[in-house]
Symmetry: C2
Subunit: 152 residues, 2 copies
Amino acid sequence: MLIGQLARLSGGKVQTIRYYEQIGLLPHAHRSSGNQRLYTSDHLERVLFIRHCREFGFSLEQIRELLQLGGEQERSCAQIDQIARQRLEEVKHKIQRLECLKSELERIISSCHGGPTYACRIIQSLSDHAQCLVADHGAMESSAAGWSEKGG
Amino acid sequence: MLIGQLARLSGGKVQTIRYYEQIGLLPHAHRSSGNQRLYTSDHLERVLFIRHCREFGFSLEQIRELLQLGGEQERSCAQIDQIARQRLEEVKHKIQRLECLKSELERIISSCHGGPTYACRIIQSLSDHAQCLVADHGAMESSAAGWSEKGG
DNA sequence: TCTAATACCTACAGCCGTTGTAGGAGCAAG
DNA sequence: CTTGCTCCTACAACGGCTGTAGGTATTAGA
C-alpha cells in the first residue's frame, strides 16, 4: 500500500504519516524500486492506534510510551493504566478551568447592554485586572486532537 | 519605566513584552539614550489588558481587534460583544468535547483490571477504532492562557 | 577609576503537532 | 509524448511564547 492509500484509510494526511515516521512513531517503511514507501496492514493498525490516541488528546510522547508498553506483551499494564489516568486528570483539570472561564465570560457578556465602546462593560471587565476571577495556574496548555481539525 | 519593571508589574516576561511589540500588539516604545525601551503607565494598562484577555483564552488576533475597537470610543460595542460571544462559544464547545473525552477515558480506565499488557483493555480500546465514541470534529485546537503557565 | 553584577539589546532557534510549499521524480492512461 | 496525478525531500509557517548567544548599558561598591 502506498502512503496516499494509508492516509485515506487512516483518515490522516500524507504529511502527517511521514512526520510520524520521521519522529520514530512509525517504523521506517520499505521502499519500492522508485523509492516510494510501501505499507502493510500492520502500519495501518498502528496509524489508527495513533489517530485514536490523538483523539483522546494523548501527546505524541505519551503515545510513544503506550506503543512501547503495548508491545511488551508480558509486562503488567499498570504503567499503561497510569498514563491513561494522567490523561484523565489533565482533562478534568482543563474542564474545571474552562467552566470557570465560561461563567466569567457569561457574567461579563450579560453585563453589556450595548451602547458606545467607551461605556462597554466587556472592555471594562477585561481592563480591570483587579476583579479577575479567573486566576490562572496553568491548566490551559494546548492539547490537540486534530486529524481532521481544519476540515472539521 | 524600563521593560523589566513593566514585566514585573504586569506579571509577564520581558521577552513576551518585546514579542507583543514585535507583532504590533504594543506600540513601539520610546528609547533612552542607551537604546533601552521606556514605558509609561499607559503601556502597563495595555499589557494588563492583554494579559487579562489571555487568561480568558482570547487569541492575540482577537485581542488585537478588541484593542482597536476599544480605542474607537464612539463606536457601538456590538462588535466587541460579538468577539466575547464567539469566545464563549469556543469555550462551551471545548467543554463539551472534553466532557465526552472524560467519560470515555473513565470508561476505558475502569474496564482495566490489571494483568499483562496483551490483555490490557485500555490498549484494546485505543486500538479498536470501531468503538470510538469520541468522534472528533475539531474542538480541541490549542487555546492557551498562560503567562504563568510554567510556573503554575 | 576600575570592576563585577545586573538588566538591557538584537537576532535567531526551539517547543508541539501538524500543514503547506517548492522543486523535482515516478507512474498510469490517452 | 504529454497530461495529470501521486510520490519524494527539504524546509518554512502556524500560535504564543521561551530560551540562548553574544553583545551593550547602567549601577553599586572597592
